[in-house]
């Protein structure tokens, strides 16, 4: 059993500061070796609104931001009004004693009013309230002040010594005020263990791309994917990566394809709306057999939808992206570390099978923060570029006629092979001159679509491309059942919901004595149909949990395997699942009350 499992909520209007305090806490906790998850509920506004960040920590695994709060740090009255009623016995509520009237809390909730003005001294820096309050919280968690001071110095390094000094003084005041006036939390944080890293999903996707050898990245800003662009831009020059912000997402994907054709590992990220603009060119990637990787960070749709809220609503969009049939790979990372590791794997596969690869992330995973073991972040993954021919690599200069082109049939770009994979020379290689085209073409790249369409050649080329998919399945890991085969119920999810479903299963066992198993799907295309069918055919009851209205995965599963789930848990209010949403839904479905649960998000954020 873990010694501690605490969660804290920080709320205020945009501009009052939730991200910075969240970051400071995350760094202090991760440096002590505590696992953590943080999730920021916010709106598309620069000032105002209600922003609420939840950070959960434990010396055991932390898979979600959880169900309950042990502390509420309220920067304004609105936060108190929204959240105080949800605070339960044992939790502490921190607020500015001069400005906020808390009202009556639930029984057992401890109010911790802080005289911010007095503790700020002569400073007029309004954000010092945050520093002071964190000081009180950290004191009550038994964190030695030096750790707080260290992280504050790092956090405000760019702002200069004066700002650091001002914050450290305020922090100390808050820390000492708590020591004199508030009782500490019953269990102090355990002694520091091996330090952990902490990062957002977007940053770790960028890092994964960097590890995979991305040399070209471009994007058009779109929430919630923009942080990938910012991370790449920040590190581009040091790492030798060409990073560009371009005119629109159509430009993005076409440039990525151009760069990939030259031989770069090339990547882009967007959200559903931008992805919609990219779809024609994804077909070009497949038709020309030029590998690219595109990340779609899903947000609540359709159209502009809710830009700052999460959803798993783009599955059918990516499944059907673009006209015609073409080979594509689609993977939905299930947690932060997975998001890092799938990038090199996906790049190797797209290089091998010469087709587009799509990463289906979502706001929950991409903007969520999590701790990771730094030793797991391997920036030296296996790189396999398969049948690529570069000017400075194999195939260089050995052709009989270096300028040979269409009249020289020794090199055929689209040579029909058993596995459908043909050697891929890039422009600049002598003796391999050819044209790649979006029109249907013959083995030498010459169009068959215009003057003399040839149904037999068309069929052969189409089959050659599609045949590549046959070998992909063997290259990717099949999903595995977590939990006993004879569980009362199997919960099926995909992508980012892995953690919350697993926690719900633990809760079902601990609190309700219900034995549930989990099948989480990561690879969506190709889908391990046989493995999934084999697992689910033994399940007593299948409930599919997903963050959308229509059960996009449930319908996909049925179309590919013929398996219809017994029940569904769907949430489409923009907020992610909390464990109790799934627990309550499974309970009501096992009790026979319904087979379609739509949990209600209790917190208004």
């Amino acid at each position: 059993m873990p010694k501690v499992d605490y969660a804290f909520g920080i709320g205020g209007e945009a501009g009052q500061g939730t991200a910075t305090p969240g970051n400071i806490l995350a760094r202090i906790f991760a440096r002590r070796g505590l696992n953590l998850q943080a999730y920021n509920a916010y709106q598309s506004i620069i000032r105002g609104g209600h922003t609420f960040l939840t950070i959960r920590i434990s010396d055991g695994p932390v898979r979600t931001f959880g169900d309950k709060l042990d502390g509420l740090l309220a920067w304004n009255q609105d936060t108190i009004d929204r959240h105080l009623k949800l605070m339960t016995a044992g939790s502490c509520v921190f607020f500015d004693a001069d400005k906020i009237k808390p009202g009556t809390p639930n029984e057992g909730v401890r109010l911790c009013p802080i005289p911010v003005k007095t503790l700020s001294g002569t400073s007029t820096n309004k954000l010092l309230a945050n520093t002071i309050t964190l000081g009180s919280l950290l004191q009550m968690l038994g964190v030695d002040f030096k750790y707080y001071e260290e992280v504050l110095s790092l956090q405000f390094k760019k702002k200069g010594e004066a700002v650091i000094a001002e914050n450290v003084t305020a922090a100390k005041a808050g820390y000492e005020y708590a020591a004199e006036n508030f009782k500490p939390y019953p269990t102090p944080l355990p002694d520091p263990g091996k330090p952990l890293a902490f990062t957002t999903g977007n940053d770790i996707l960028a890092m994964g791309g960097i590890a995979a050898g991305v040399k070209f990245y471009c994007a058009y800003p779109m929430s919630p994917s923009t942080a990938v662009l910012m991370y790449m831009a920040k590190h581009a020059r040091k790492l030798g990566i060409m990073v560009r912000q371009v005119e629109d997402e159509i430009g993005v994907i076409n440039m990525v394809i151009g760069a990939a054709h030259a031989g770069c590992r090339s990547m882009c990220a967007t959200s559903g709306g931008g992805f919609a603009l990219m779809t024609e060119a994804l077909g070009m990637s497949a038709m020309m057999e030029v590998p690219v990787v595109c990340i779609n960070v899903q947000r609540a749709g359709p159209a502009t939808g809710v830009p700052t809220k999460t959803e798993q609503g783009d599955l059918w969009q990516v499944l059907g992206a673009g006209q015609g049939d073409y080979p594509r790979l689609i993977v939905a990372p299930t947690n932060h570390l997975d998001a890092f590791k799938i990038m090199p794997e996906l790049f190797n596969l797209t290089d091998k099978f010469q087709c587009p690869g799509i990463v289906l992330s979502d706001l929950l995973i991409s903007e969520g923060t999590a701790s990771v073991d730094p030793d797991e972040l391997r920036f030296d993954p296996e790189i396999d570029r398969s049948a690529l021919i570069l000017p400075n690599g194999n195939g260089n200069g050995h052709a009989a006629n270096p300028w040979g082109g269409v009249r020289d049939k020794t090199y055929l770009r689209y040579k029909i092979t058993d596995d459908g994979v043909s050697p891929r020379a890039v422009p600049g290689v002598p003796g391999h001159v050819h044209v790649v085209s979006t029109d249907e073409h013959d083995e030498d790249g010459i169009l068959i679509s215009d003057e003399f369409t040839n149904p037999h050649k068309r069929q052969k080329m189409h089959e050659k491309r599609m045949r590549k998919m046959d070998a992909v399945l063997a290259s990717i890991a099949p999903p595995k059942l977590v939990g006993p085969e004879n569980a009362q119920v199997t919960l099926v999810g995909w992508g980012s919901t892995e953690g919350v479903i697993l926690e719900a299963i633990e809760k079902l066992a601990a609190e309700e004595g219900i034995v549930a198993s989990q099948l989480q799907i990561k690879w969506l295309v190709p889908l391990h149909v046989d493995a999934i069918t084999n697992i689910l055919s033994k399940s007593k009851k299948i409930i599919i949990v997903e963050n959308n209205y229509s059960g996009q995965f449930a319908r996909y599963l049925r179309s590919e395997t013929g398996i219809s789930a017994h029940g569904h848990v769907r949430k489409y209010d923009g907020e992610p699942f909390m464990p109790h949403h799934i627990v309550d839904s499974v309970k009501e479905q096992l009790a026979g009350k319904t087979n379609h649960s739509v949990p209600v998000h209790e917190i208004m954020v």
Binding site: F216, I250, A259, H261, C264, P427, V433
Partner: protein, 305 residues
């Protein structure tokens, strides 16, 4: 008529021996007999040969349309991309391998219509690309609908009562948009066109050559008989290609006299790939080894600790 010589910089690299226009010959084009695009193709092949470029070091990128079929008819690397996207694809290609000579070809609908946004942004970036637009003022491959350069009153299958919209004039647009080499050619003046193309390829920056390349099938009004008496070669008129305002004025001229030639050129602006320090050393990005140095890995990890 003498062939005008443009003020192209002297090429310093030794010309590989034996390169001729024949080395750039490929499959015979599937264009209609008499199409203006034949001349553009041969002018491009001649220009490449005269510059001594090797076929494997050149990539021709096109969109979709009659003229965009060109990469299939020239022996260089080619990318026959999507409708309107040649400039975007070529931008990625050039940044990934800035040692390649990258030439974009296409039509007026492809470049100024569906590709208009890329056109504007590629110009302001001063991408080192040569963009040859075979402008026939009509959608040919879709059998004769109005295009962004169709003149007012032009009858097409989608404007049977005459086009009521104003056309785009690509010359002033490109001069204002940031292109650093802006020219207009004419299919019936192949030697002049060859010189314009050579100058464009040697120019370090974005070069637009809008070529009157008549569609003999679907645009009877804007054909050779219309242009022949009207085109006037700027190089024979002592036009100053460094005079911004005059270049724009000339670009707007339309009627009894329509100028062709180099309108505008400036050499004082770097191309995008020259502005990006990532390309300063190490050769083309696409040929560099993959992987991150252990020093850089340490720095990346430190940020998140």
């Amino acid at each position: 008529m003498s062939t005008p010589v443009l003020d192209a910089p002297v090429k310093t690299e030794a010309k590989p021996s034996g390169i001729t226009a024949k080395d750039f010959k490929s499959n015979h084009p599937d264009w209609c007999g008499g199409c203006g695009d034949f001349t553009v193709l041969s002018a491009l092949q001649n220009a490449l040969a005269e510059l001594g470029l090797e076929p494997h070091k050149v990539t021709v990128v096109s969109g979709i349309g009659c003229s965009s079929n060109l990469p299939g008819f020239i022996n260089t690397y080619g990318m026959h991309t999507l409708h309107g996207r040649s400039l975007a694809v070529a931008t990625g290609l050039k940044l990934a391998n800035h040692e390649l000579t990258v030439i974009c070809t296409g039509g007026d609908g492809d470049g100024y219509g569906i590709g208009g946004n890329h056109f504007v942004h590629t110009m302001r970036r001063n991408m080192d690309l040569t963009y040859i637009v075979m402008d026939n003022q009509i959608y040919g491959l879709t059998t004769g609908q109005t295009s962004p350069t169709s003149v007012k009153g032009q009858k097409t299958k989608s404007t049977p009562h005459g086009n009521v919209e104003n056309p785009i004039n690509p010359i002033p647009m490109a001069i204002i948009g940031g292109a650093t080499y802006v020219a207009r050619g004419y299919s019936a003046k192949p030697k002049h066109l060859t010189e314009l193309i050579k100058g464009a390829i040697l120019h370090k920056g974005f070069a637009l050559i809008d070529v009157f390349s008549p569609c003999v099938t679907y645009n009877k009004e804007g054909g050779f008989p219309f242009f022949n008496p009207r085109v006037k070669i700027l190089e024979e008129q002592g036009h100053d290609t460094s005079d911004f305002h005059k270049a724009i004025d000339k670009g707007f001229m339309w009627g009894d006299e329509i100028p062709i030639g180099l309108f505008w050129k400036r050499n004082d602006l770097p191309a995008l790939h020259e502005l990006e320090p990532v390309l300063n050393e190490g050769g083309p990005l696409a040929h560099r080894p993959l992987g991150v140095s252990s020093e850089n890995v340490k720095a990346l990890i430190k940020e998140i600790m």
